[in-house]
Symmetry: D2
């Protein structure tokens, strides 16, 4: 029944360089085509094979990647000894089993966010990756955007000061996924960015949501996150917004950021207090008053497509040249916070401790 | 000690029309000059007198309004039998006593928001206004903007459908007021707009906040409001934002609004589903999918300054020609919700029922 | 010397439908990859072959289109009897000879703008296409955007009224092309859109420009176009702008448009006078005054990539199912106006009649 | 017949400081109220008197400035020995006679732009001011905005490098003034800013325009200005635009500016090449390529209302403390260029030398 299609032999004149990582894609639905295109275009990877259950999707893949093996059965990929790694873009419920199977077949894995649908699953996957000696990364794509990488530099150099708040909005008129609510769908983006930048564990979370279109899952939610410091974080995720907004505001004692992904050319704006030391509350007060009077800088951002940077990084991580930026540890932490948010949501917004 | 300055006699050739309402201003600090200017420019009112404790502020008033009585003692206004009404722009803590005194002196009153700092005070003020037969209105200025008036027409004509969510952001780099936190300062604006538009009582509220600059009051807060319907409302108020944002998104089953006060010419955008009846969940689902494909309309808005419209409305309300749009009842409800928010804030975000 | 690479036989299981138009791409530099991708993805075309002189570019094409014939010699395409059409993306100077050769080899042709570098060449190319019975279209891509198609509907339905002015800005920090100036590079976009929408021949043109970076070609220019009516058109083209701006404003007696290609979601705004008949100057005056008070509409636009729509349209034009939207006639007119602009530029801005 | 109203005696307790410049306003129509308000609020001036032919306008002035002398006859101002200066906001045709009369009556003068309707008149006015020893300034308000002052600092410090182009758009749906065309109405704003910043005389100008609503005057025009250097300047002025746009782009060899007056908080954006020395064409080429990769800065701007800064500057200029920023010389130059533009317009766009 499985319509396995064997890959035509590559012409010897232009073989894919054997230095390239041979990567397969499992799941060619909404996101898979982006993965495939980036694997094909990256100079460090070769698009070796694609699997999807839908013949229509496979036919569409055939138009663009006629030399790539196409199959309805992902097992064809896992048992192909030439294949080095798989990018998995299937529904979250399937991640645990698929990733485990791929790791145990000796493949390195990049899997869509969220890593898993429970902390237990996520931790199990990390343990299997460890045991198999394979790289397991989560596709938190935004970590590889020019804007987030630029903000990370500010944070790493200690230029932000104490972080006071982290406020994120991610709303649009979205595709409804009846298997999962809007928190599981959208919040991993902002959580991964925040955890990547801040390096502070979330202590407590409160979540409110509502169901307006589908009776089973929330289409709007507000998450409030507390930390051991006086940092306050907040996410608004929403599938029923009339306009697409993706904007994060970060307030620090020395710098503030407005990161607006909807801006065409100036996605990041940096505001400087001009006061690098605040010896007293009075000084800090004065420093803030100066915020409004300082120059605003829209720094130069690398315009490389995030997924292109991520694909190249994955290849280098597999070769041991770079430590994974978006590894299993970050993936687990995202699932841990989302799970606590889910519990708070179910209990009417009561704040829930994030257990560790 | 009170440096009372007697008003020069007006020239008989150009007396203020006796048809005009004679209005005094108590408090000429941040907002008082706007009140004074609008009273002076409104064809239905005359700027009769101004009181403020600061000689410097009085001197500044003298430059613009040389015929207006200026005094350091507001009692001069209350005992002036020619004065019909007072606009009170003093700190919230002083509202209760001042308003009561003014009402009992027979003056009609417009007072800055919030009406009072406790529900008890607010209800007492309303009762005194009732007993004295005087108009008591709260300066919820935004109700008189072209954008809110235009949205109100949509709501009143039933064109919005079921309201799913009401999301508001009001952030800026603000003046710090050490007497009160950011909720008491900014949230009354959004609460008054929302209550004016929706006509649904808030059932439960949860508030989170943090103190970063001053140890006594919160400079950032998130409020989540629940109702008897499945409406979810949320306000973000913040004094430490690098840029000024005042944006409200309202999601209804038939129309959605984006009201962005920072836009120069198109403050309101209306999105239409194109589907006026949804017989089933499936229909509603389809209707939403169409939202994204519909035309967007930026309706014509009246550009009259809100405070000018409000001043004229106040004069007509005093004369019994119009029912007060922003009367004591709305003012009490705002204080009731804010007080519950304050309690939730003090209790770490636990949702609090709004008692009635 | 020509490194011709034979296309591997397609697997019989998934052959390209023989109903598909087999298209080759000549020139795989800046724009060619976009042509190739759209040909590959279009359900009515198959990407049959690509030629480019650069081995590096061919290697890059190989990564994405491994089954496509790649060659350094475009003659390989022209003599391939299986190939139906070619898309030519080479420098303007080469268009005339290449297009003639392709047409005479029996291929249908889509060629980059401008069609040619002289009116004589352009007319010759059209004549050869006519003689050979082949379709010749010019890649004026913007005609196929959702915004231009939507404006065309307004014009075709007579809803714009008399057109008063057409003002276009197309500026960016551009790649410098030392063979041609900024007028030949950018103005064909706006000219083709304007001629497509308005259907009025340009009578007279005046052009001013300056050379700041390269002594041979102008990097900034202003074109003023006059017509037999009182329509006034104007284009600003500029390679040295710090920010990218592509905005057209069209003023008509009944509707006005602002078409801003830099806007993410509302590229087109339509302003309505609300007055459909103006019996007198006074009426027209009043109608205009109402423009500012009317609603603004951002109509729904088809979001299909312009080049995808254009590729499908080309296939249907070849099959005789649709008349070419961007045929040789429009291409000649664009060259005619640009040539007159060039003459005016050389003569210090003196207005030049567009001869016909 | 003249309804002269004598100013009531000021109370001795609060006299206007005799250190204040006593200023009168002639013409209280569209712009006069702004002049009056700023004179009243400025600590260096006193609003002494207002004249206007319309009783309705005078009544409106009375509401705001009840102590100010109001009169229908401007001669009352000129013969008042206590009056130091007049601000004249009457139609351009009246400027010459009124200004001469005021200067000869010993008053210092600020007059609306344009200074006059002919170069001869403008030069005559300057000569009379010189002879009378009185200050004559033109109200080119934009010179006093925070954005223009900030740009002027960049230019004065030589940070802009060679100026390549100056491109300005000033369009809106305007009030129609049947006495004058859109060039005379709007272009003085941009001309005065450009001449203030650049300090290069215009050599040649070409103007195109069209009349769509009124048969007597142009409602849209394009001006192209040439200089002795390779600077190219261009203005688009338009009364029939659906949206208000006021944007200037200045391209220099070391810095570029985008000055957008429609932006709420970041009116000025500065782009830096990062390359301060260009030894060769190749270097310059490279420098430009880097423009796109540099940071963008939105510098802090003084938010003082331009007219407030201008009023205070006028008072200091009268006292000899500052040289007039917008004196007769600049006013004459603006009229000279506009007059040449008018001649080009009448001759179908033929470039006209600006004679001196």
């Amino acid at each position: 029944m499985t319509a396995t299609i064997t890959r035509p032999k590559l012409e010897p004149a232009v073989p894919p360089s054997h230095a390239r990582l041979r990567v397969g894609v499992i799941g060619y639905g909404y996101w898979g085509p982006n993965l495939a295109r980036n694997i094909a275009q990256c100079s460090e990877t070769a698009l070796w094979a694609i699997s999807d259950l839908s013949p229509k999707r496979l036919a569409s893949a055939r138009d663009l990647f006629p030399l790539t093996t196409l199959t309805a059965d992902y097992h064809d990929l896992l048992r192909d000894p030439d294949l080095d790694a798989v990018f998995i873009a299937t529904p979250p419920e399937s991640h645990h089993d698929l990733v485990i199977e791929a790791l145990e077949a000796g493949k390195h894995v990049l899997v869509e966010k969220p890593l898993a649908t429970s902390v237990e699953d996520a931790e199990h996957m990390a343990a299997v990756a460890e045991r198999c000696g394979r790289v397991l990364t989560v596709d938190h794509t935004f970590l590889f955007t020019g804007a987030v990488r630029r903000m990370k530099e500010y944070f790493d150099r200690g230029e932000v000061g104490d972080v006071y708040y982290y406020d994120s909005i991610r709303i649009n008129l979205g595709l409804f996924n009846h298997e999962t609510n809007v928190i599981w769908d959208l919040a991993p983006h902002d959580l991964s960015i925040m955890l990547h930048l801040l390096d502070q564990p979330v202590r407590r979370i409160s979540a409110f949501g509502a169901r307006h279109v589908d009776t089973n899952v929330e289409n709007i939610a507000y998450l409030t996150l507390e930390f051991d410091s006086d940092l306050l974080a907040h996410f608004h995720v929403n599938w029923l917004a009339p306009a697409k907004v993706r904007r994060t505001i970060i307030g620090g004692s020395r710098k503030m950021f407005v990161y607006d992904d909807g801006e065409a050319s100036e996605k990041l704006r940096v505001y400087d207090s001009g006061a690098h030391l605040c010896d007293s509350r009075e000084d800090m007060y004065r420093a803030f008053v100066e915020y409004r009077t300082g120059d605003v800088i829209a720094p130069r951002l690398d315009k490389t497509e995030a997924l292109a940077a991520e694909t190249a990084h994955f290849a280098r991580a597999v070769r041991g040249l770079e430590a994974p930026i978006s590894g299993a540890e970050l993936g687990i932490e995202v699932v841990r916070v989302i799970s606590a948010a889910q519990e708070s949501l179910c209990r009417g917004g009561v704040p829930i401790e994030v257990s560790r």
